[in-house]
């Protein structure tokens, strides 16, 4: 077990290294000169720009720049924003809880709803309930989150005035954005839960259990659910990444001051150190979560070998 975990951790190293390299390329192979971009709005002289180039180490050979970039990144020094001049990591860490709060809330909404819907559909396979659930799930993955967000604002905030249309701080502010973010995830989880439950229900031991006259409820919970859970856990793990990326747009729709919003703002302002930092942080978070899911998998599915 420990060996499996260590091995799995080691496979993440080259990926993290790749991500850092991509982030480096992002800033240093850019057509413009970072120093002149930074000073463009202040009307600096050529001398000012040259000085800044030296300060930033832009005149060093590329491999040296890369090496020092990797070292700084690993130490948690993500540089400073070109716009606000604040340390990037500080800016991002201040936003991280807002994003995580949203993603967790969406996940907590999506898991029970998706699982229940999927299983209900599977139990009533090919009935009208099944068709309705499948249609709902298809809608979930097809509806654009930015539009759903606008429509919910239109209905719950503009027309009814029940819920705040933007911002963060408190449960009321979380309902609409979390619901929008959860909608897509519900679609995917429902489909997976349905498929896996349908498969399980076809298995001999379930048919046997039913024929032995076990109560329907007991059969479902004790036998079917337990085996159907494996693919669901996988898909939930994958969903985390999707939710993290989906939160970018949802935060924009609801003006929540999370990682996503700062990422979009900095892309628009071409504040590359912040873009770089936000991308790095999100993908490292994602890699880490995938690791956690893979390891959790071992606990759920006895068939996964530690090799």
């Amino acid at each position: 077990m420990a060996r499996y975990i260590v091995k799995r951790l080691l496979t993440a190293v080259p990926v993290v290294f790749g991500v850092i390299s991509v982030a480096f390329v992002l800033l240093y192979l850019l057509p413009g000169d970072p120093a002149s971009t930074m000073l463009a709005r202040s009307g600096a002289s050529a001398q000012d720009i040259a000085q800044l180039r030296t300060e930033l180490g832009l005149d060093d050979p590329l491999y040296e720049q890369f090496a020092s970039y990797v070292v700084r990144t690993v130490q948690g020094d993500f540089g400073r924003s070109m716009v606000s001049q604040e340390p990037v990591l500080e800016l991002l860490m201040a936003r991280l809880p807002t994003t995580l709060e949203l993603v967790m809330a969406a996940l907590l909404m999506a898991i029970p709803i998706g699982t229940l819907l999927g299983m209900t559909a599977a139990i009533h396979q090919n009935s009208w309930i099944d068709r309705l659930v499948v249609a709902f799930a298809s809608l979930g993955v097809s509806i654009p989150s930015f539009w759903l967000g606008l429509m919910l604002i239109l209905f719950f905030s503009v027309a009814l005035g029940w819920l705040p249309s933007f911002g963060q701080g408190g449960f009321r502010h979380l309902i609409l954005p979390a619901a929008v973010l959860a909608f897509g995830a519900v679609g995917t989880i429902t489909r997976t839960a349905r498929t896996s439950m349908v498969d399980v229900l076809k298995q001999d031991y379930i048919v046997m259990a039913r024929s032995k006259g076990l109560a329907e409820h007991t059969t479902l919970v004790r036998h079917a659910l337990r085996n159907a859970l494996v693919p669901i856990v996988t898909v939930i793990g994958l969903q985390f990444g999707w939710l993290l990326s989906g939160s970018i747009i949802v935060e924009a729709v609801f003006s929540r001051q999370g990682l996503g919003l700062i990422l979009i703002d900095s892309v628009l302002e071409q504040d590359l150190p912040v873009v770089q930092g936000a991308v790095l942080l999100s993908s490292i978070l994602y890699i880490f979560l995938n690791l956690v899911v893979d390891i959790a998998y071992v606990f759920v599915d006895p068939k996964v070998r530690y090799g």
């Binding site: 201040a94 911002g167 001051q257 606990f299």
Partner: protein, 537 residues
């Protein structure tokens, strides 16, 4: 471990409920103790430091934390502030200020001549990092501390706008001790002499101010003295303008600055809210017309664009009647505004077409776009993401197409646009709201010395215009003569069609009914939070 995986499902709704309860417990709205107020506006750009930043938040927020040597009264006259009196020599080159005594910064540092000298030297030493403050200072020869409360400032040349500049919050007095202690982190440890004190600044999110209990040196422009009425001000930054009106109507904020015109009407319909409009002096919104880059190097093309555009209907539709249509490089509420510019370029597509034909631009191939020597009549425009530049650009696209001009619009970040403007890569560039008087709204934007490095993106080279702008600044006493020079400069700018004016800035402020005493000082951007109080119904 695998004995009871079934338990997980019944647990899930329970977990969800826990999460809901937890969320309820944590972040409630800030408690309204009846004496605090919440505002919203755009977010600041660089570090929120009066000497560094150029954004309006310096005027909105920091004007309550800091004070200036002089103030403007409601007529725009200069009145005492931290300087109780001053004198100017006859040649306009020497200023002597007498400072108020017993004034202390929030960190306890005494305010004196030493502090004034420190502040001016700080601004000068910031160089290009100071986006606005440094440009407001004249050409200073020397600063001399006469005694603890008297200071002399000598200039190399007279400057009629020195006192005006000193009245703007960009030239606020900051605590020398705090600056020296915190260096680059000063913006997180601000210390001024104003009625409110810095409490907390979460970059991009909010800024909190608390009342300064020791404040008793209010300038005479205010109705009361002593500490402010309000105990606390929380400033939320809502970068997305469309969220501000909903926040106000939902009661999440008490004052929303810079409402969208389409939302302002909605706020006005609410019985618990009012909308006040602050018309801003200085620079309106306009597009530069580049005089160096074809096809706008031809004055006939520039004039055709001005006649082909109908900004009257554009401003009415996009600004919903809240802003005035602009006619020149100064807003109509600016004292030096030249009203004779109105009617200079009436909307006249026929005239525009004949001007283009005279210039040799004909639509030979019948595709709706004119051409000359096989080249289509294409005008390159840079669009920015503020000032509703997008809506106006797309409307202009339609209007210019009607006279056979193809507008090619490119969205640019401000920093990128500055570079494009300085290098002359675009025919039309959006500008606006960057100056508060004839002094800082004209010379930096039209004098030929500012074409390569500054903001004179029409790139017009004319000694006559330069002379008018240079001489007007030097006049300190003769306001009539100065206004005349500025009127001639404005007329020249419009005769040469260096800009296509769009609208005068008007700040739409949504205010809850319970907020009383809020006014806007004459620059239009400086609120009287010191006088503000809450009336509980």
């Amino acid at each position: 471990m695998l004995k009871k995986p079934g338990l997980a499902v019944p647990l899930l709704p329970y977990l969800a409920v826990c999460a809901i309860l937890a969320a309820c417990g944590t972040g409630q709205n800030p408690v309204d103790d009846g004496n605090s107020i919440i505002l919203s506006s755009n977010k600041p750009g660089v570090r929120l430091d009066p000497h560094l930043d150029v954004k309006w938040e310096v005027l909105y927020i920091l004007s309550t934390v800091y004070e200036t040597l002089v103030y403007q009264d409601s007529d725009g006259d200069i009145v005492p502030g931290l300087a109780s009196e001053w004198s100017v020599s006859d040649d306009g080159k020497s200023y002597a200020f007498t400072l108020r005594e017993q004034v202390r910064f929030h960190d306890g540092t005494p305010f004196n001549a030493e502090a004034v000298k420190f502040n001016i030297e700080r601004i000068l030493s910031l160089g290009p990092r100071s986006l606005k403050a440094r440009s407001l200072l004249p050409d200073i020869k020397s600063i001399e501390i006469l005694d603890e409360y008297n200071i002399g400032i000598d200039l190399n040349e007279p400057n009629g706008f020195f006192l005006f500049g000193l009245s703007l919050p960009y030239l606020s007095m900051v605590s020398p001790t705090a600056v020296q202690t915190w260096g680059d982190e000063y913006h997180q440890h601000q210390s001024g002499t104003g009625p409110f004190m810095f409490e907390e600044y979460l970059v991009g999110d909010r800024y909190t101010l608390v009342r300064n209990p020791n404040y008793d040196w209010a300038p005479e422009i205010y109705n009361h003295d002593g500490p402010a009425h309000l105990e606390k001000i929380t400033w939320h930054f809502l970068a997305e303008p469309s969220t501000r009106a909903p926040a106000l109507l939902a009661g999440d904020v008490d004052i929303a600055l810079d409402l969208l015109p389409t939302d302002a009407q909605y706020v006005m319909d609410s019985p618990e809210h009012t909308v006040s409009i602050a018309n801003l002096t200085g620079q309106p919104a306009f597009w530069y017309l580049n005089t160096q880059l074809p096809p706008t190097d031809d004055i006939r093309v520039r004039r055709a664009i001005l006649h082909g555009a109908d900004m009257q209907v554009a401003v009415k539709a996009i600004k919903r009647g809240f802003n005035r249509v602009s006619h020149g490089p100064l807003a109509s509420v600016t004292p030096e505004y030249a009203s004779q510019l109105e009617g200079m370029y009436p909307h006249d597509p026929e005239l525009a077409i004949s001007l283009l034909e005279q210039a040799g631009w004909l639509d030979a191939d019948g595709d709706g776009i004119r051409e000359k020597d096989g080249m289509p009549l294409v005008v390159l425009m840079s669009m920015v993401n503020w000032g509703q530049s997008r809506e106006f650009s797309e409307l202009l696209y339609s209007q210019l197409k009607a006279i056979g001009i193809e507008l090619r619009i490119e969205m640019m970040d401000y920093g990128v646009q500055v570079e494009a403007g300085q290098r002359g890569r675009k025919n039309m560039l959006f500008m606006g709201g960057s100056g508060h008087s004839a002094f800082d709204a004209l010379k930096p934007f039209f004098h030929s010395e500012n074409t390569e490095r500054g903001f004179a993106w029409a790139k017009y080279q004319d000694p006559e215009l330069d002379r008018l702008l240079d001489e007007a600044v030097l006049l300190t006493g003769d306001v009539g003569k100065r206004t005349e020079l500025y009127e001639r400069a404005q007329t020249l700018i419009m005769e040469q069609a260096l800009i296509l004016p769009i609208y005068d800035y008007a700040l739409l402020i949504g205010v809850s009914e319970k907020v009383k005493g809020l006014e806007w000082r004459s620059v239009g951007l400086v609120p009287t939070f010191y006088e503000m109080y809450l009336e509980t119904p």
